[in-house]
């Protein structure tokens, strides 16, 4: 079967691409659009390293087919900073040393941003459960939780 021709919005920009049915959104982002900030840790939705938002909804891009996203709006880690300004979450992750190896970091940031958009003042409990789909093997999550809390406080102050 011929490839699908898909038009979508990625990080605010219109994109078009061709993909086979079995290609996931993650495959498309990484291999076709060269947006390698989203990572593949498991390809089964268990690690969250490929987290993106699809029409504002947090999803694992490894569990979305490329051909499903026609006309939809996708945000990835590459679209998080505004020009030269890092997002407060990105800034706080750096300040709190909330990353060690950094492979899970894009997924954590995208997921945390989705959390703070819905819950501007999350408790530790809410942060931990919201982020339970993002595996980190290096940090023990401690500094990630602190960074998210701190970023939330910053963002509330505007």
């Amino acid at each position: 079967m011929a490839k699908h021709h898909i038009e979508a919005i990625v990080n605010g920009d219109p994109v078009e691409f061709l993909c086979d049915t079995e290609e996931t959104l993650l495959d498309v982002l990484r291999d076709t659009l060269n947006l390698t900030g989203s990572k593949e840790g498991c390809a089964s939705g268990d690690c969250g390293a490929c987290s993106v938002t699809l029409d504002g909804r947090l999803v694992c891009s490894c569990l979305v087919l490329g051909c499903e996203v026609g006309g939809r709006r996708i945000e990835t880690i590459e679209g998080m900073a505004e020009g030269e300004r890092l997002h407060p979450l990105q800034q706080r992750f750096l300040e709190h040393a909330a990353l060690q190896c950094g492979i899970c970091t894009p997924g954590f940031l995208v997921a945390s941003k989705a959390l703070l958009e819905r819950t501007p003042e999350p408790t530790e409990h809410e942060i931990r459960y919201w982020l339970a789909g993002n595996l980190c093997r290096c940090t023990g999550y401690d500094k990630i939780v602190s960074a998210v809390k701190d970023a939330a406080a910053t963002m509330r102050k505007g």
Binding site: L86, L94, L135, G140
Partner: protein, 764 residues
């Protein structure tokens, strides 16, 4: 505590502060390139065919149908690799044998575990490569398999290698077995020790194999040109080691291969060996096109190294006052399909935290039909120390002694002779015990079904061959290059040192991890060595720069060398001349470098010695649901001796991350095999690593007992944190339930069963 800086020249003091990591922005924006993020024009995709059987003779491999598939450019099998003679080489903190490495990379006579690589293809797309694997005809003669370590040691067990004769026993065995090695260490007279004991506690323990669980799967991209020049990009803890292994396995000159370490998405010891790298090079050599290979998560679990599962017997004797007088242990460690478990370090560490006169520890290295183990954070130590820490706790209970006091009474300290050989210099176990005792955590009351556990841990740490270069750029900024991949903030720690050594702003130093062509041989990131040895090499490189700048200044000012000195980032004239000459900064020298002798730089090339052990003590509170056996970790505190924390935030990060890995090991992680010898939980879903909601905040207490053999007092810190959690959690479980759990993981079905047997859940 060591001085801030080596020669009093340093005024800024970045060391010990929480600087922003120089590689950080790339990592929070998605720009950082990890193993699977590299691509080259015209690249092929490589995939591996793996054995579906845990143990089978490979009768034949027919690749013709796969090769005929359009888009398939090459297929490789055992025939593409020359056999290797038996020769042991260091692999991280463990040993391996090239004869086994070549067989692990691609099976030769036999497939020895489910997932063992049998062939590999390179094709124009992943889909074609996948189809090609199905067209490779492998004829297997399926053999009986053995998974468990005790089973594998039995005389009638299925034999993995008919040329494996146990080393270390007298008389030399005349029959092969699955026991590769017996090791033993002794101190004093163990029998006499037990005679002095008022109480003796003996227990048998069992631990499950666990995987390092790095989130980034193994990945490699190789490009071989017609003249044999080879480039390789891969995620590894040691690209110089990868280069050496690939050169050996492929019969290439080391100088022909250039390996670039990508950013690495976790390793924990598991990325110290080669899997895909030689295959990608072999496929690229055959096709003369770049070949990219990435493991799936299932392949990572089935075919890359977990650490050993083990059976451990511990017997300890103490006087009624609590003085340990005898420590015996027998360790049986799974090596996986090839010899080389971490039983040796397990033996050496078992009693290392304690000052005991009489010690005897025996270890066995046992092969079975599982993936070959690889190093995992303090390899071997968590297993033997879990067993010992459990028995120590039991002694405390029997003698009605406070478990911290008991440890304090027996703690190894400066001057203690360790059973494994050396006399310790200054070490910080007592300080960590004291720190824990002083916490609010230790003094908070508990409720029913809650328990509190404490345990200590020891790891040696290593040094080794290390290079670092510092180059002064034309504008006075500095390029710092080291050859150890940065897994968890190394560049931040080393930039703190370089900036302090040269007396320049942190932002003026740009650190990179150089490829194998840019520096001399540098051993891998492992053994908690990279910050320890890297900082030593930087001190050496900076010393050269400072000497050079002083020499140039003396020449310019027409002074004698002893009339100038380097301090706070500048060279100044001393004495009477001080008035006459304005001090010159590094930037001043950089501007006129061309006229004063050319480019300025320093190159530290050392074999770092003097690694000091790091000891730690962990404290955990947990709660058991008596009706389901589920365990919740309520609170956790780590205290560990860092010697000197170059970058406290990343040291804390090591403590916290290691503790949570230990929590996973203690409670849920395990390799689950079916009767058929196949791994049933080769994915994150059922392997069950801790997620964010499984754990509390991890309080980290930095203890700093300087290592006198390091210019800044540094000790390696990365590995010790995974040692105490297993014992601490088992000890807390005992307090919560009254049951001594001796088998890991303490997963809910096991816990509930034990509670029922004891009638402790009120439901017998």
């Amino acid at each position: 505590m060591a001085e801030n800086g080596t020669n009093g020249t340093n005024g800024r003091g970045y060391v010990g502060t929480r600087t922003i990591r120089p590689d950080g922005v790339d990592k929070v924006t998605g720009r950082a390139r990890f193993g699977a993020d590299f691509n080259l024009p015209g690249q092929l995709i490589g995939r591996v065919l793996r054995s579906p059987h845990p143990h089978a003779r490979i009768v034949s491999i027919d690749t013709s149908r796969a090769e005929a598939l359009p888009g398939v450019k090459a297929v490789i099998t055992r025939d593409d690799f020359a056999d290797q003679p038996s020769e042991f080489i260091p692999a991280g903190e463990m040993m391996m044998n090239y004869k086994d490495v070549v067989r692990n990379v691609l099976a030769r006579e036999k497939a020895l575990y489910e997932g063992h690589a049998v062939a590999a293809v390179a094709a124009t797309s992943a889909a074609i490569a996948r189809r090609a694997l199905k067209l490779i005809d492998v004829k297997y003669e399926v053999l009986p398999h053995v998974i468990d370590v005790v089973e594998a040691m039995k005389p009638d067990a299925p034999l993995l290698h008919d040329d494996l004769f146990t080393v270390g026993v007298e008389p030399k065995p005349d029959k092969p077995s699955n026991v590769a090695k017996r090791v033993e260490i002794t101190l004093g007279d163990i029998e006499a020790g037990f005679k002095k004991a008022d109480i003796v506690v003996e227990r048998e323990f069992k631990t499950a194999p666990v995987h390092q669980g790095y989130i980034e799967p193994h990945a490699a991209l190789a490009s071989v040109s017609e003249d044999g020049s080879t480039e390789l990009w891969c995620c590894t803890q040691g690209h110089f080691i990868v280069r050496a292994h690939c050169a050996r396995l492929l019969g290439l000159d080391i100088g022909k291969i250039r390996v670039t370490a990508s950013e690495i998405g976790g390793g924990f010891g598991g990325k110290t060996v080669v899997y895909l790298e030689p295959l990608a090079i072999a496929l690229s050599r055959k096709t003369k096109r770049p070949v990219k290979m990435v493991m799936s998560r299932e392949e990572v679990f089935k075919a890359s190294g977990p650490t050993s599962g083990a059976t451990v017997r511990v017997k300890m004797g103490a006087t009624k006052d609590g003085k340990f007088v005898a420590g015996f242990a027998e360790l049986k460690y799974q090596a996986g399909a090839f010899q080389g478990s971490p039983v040796q370090p397990g033996v050496m560490c078992a009693y290392a935290p304690y000052d005991i006169e009489n010690v005897k520890v025996i270890g066995y290295d046992v092969v079975s039909n599982r993936p070959k183990v690889a190093a995992y954070r303090a390899p071997g130590a968590p297993i033997s120390e879990f067993a010992v820490e459990s028995v120590v706790d039991e002694i405390a209970k029997k003698l009605k002694l406070d478990p911290i006091e008991l440890r304090m009474m027996n703690a190894a300290r400066e001057g203690t002779k360790a059973a494994y050989g050396p006399k310790f210099g200054p070490i910080g176990l007592e300080e960590t015990l004291n720190s824990i005792k002083k916490t609010e955590h230790w003094n908070t009351p508990l409720r029913k079904w809650q328990g509190r556990g404490v345990a200590s841990g020891f790891w040696f740490n290593i040094g080794g061959e290390t290079c670092a270069s510092l180059t002064i750029n034309e504008d006075g900024s500095v390029s710092l290059m080291v050859g150890t991949p940065d897994i968890g903030g190394l560049r931040a720690s080393l930039t703190n040192v370089a900036a302090d050594e040269l007396g320049i702003p942190y932002e003026k130093v740009r650190p990179i991890i150089g490829d194998t062509g840019s520096l001399g041989f540098t051993f891998l990131t492992g053994g908690s060595r990279s910050a320890f040895s890297g900082s030593m090499a930087i001190v050496e490189a900076a010393k050269q720069i400072k000497a050079e700048l002083c020499a140039r200044a003396a020449k310019l000012w027409e002074l004698k060398p002893d009339q100038v000195e380097f301090a706070n980032g500048s060279v100044r004239a001393l004495g009477a001349a001080a008035e006459k000459f304005k001090p010159m900064s590094i930037a001043d020298f950089a501007k006129i470098a061309g006229k004063t002798g050319g480019p300025i730089g320093g190159y530290g090339r050392i074999n770092a010695q003097g690694a000091g052990p790091s000891l730690g003590t962990h404290l955990v509170d947990l709660e058991v649901d008596p009706e389901t056996g589920r365990v919740t970790i309520l609170r956790y505190t780590v205290a560990q001796d860092a010697g000197r924390a170059l970058h406290p935030a990343y040291v804390e990060g090591q403590f916290q991350g290691g503790a949570v890995q230990g929590i996973g090991w203690a409670l849920n992680e395990e390799y689950i095999y079916g009767e058929d010898g196949k791994l049933q939980n080769a994915g994150f879903l059922d392997y069950r690593m801790p997620v964010a909601s499984d754990v509390p905040m991890i309080d980290a207490i930095l203890v700093e007992v300087a290592n006198p053999k390091h210019p800044y007092g540094v000790r390696g810190v990365g590995e010790t944190p995974i040692v105490p959690p297993l014992g601490a959690i088992a000890n807390a479980m005992e307090q919560a339930t009254g049951i001594r759990f001796t088998e890991l993981p303490m997963s809910p079905p096991k816990v509930l069963k034990a509670l029922k047997e004891k009638g402790a859940n009120g439901k017998t």
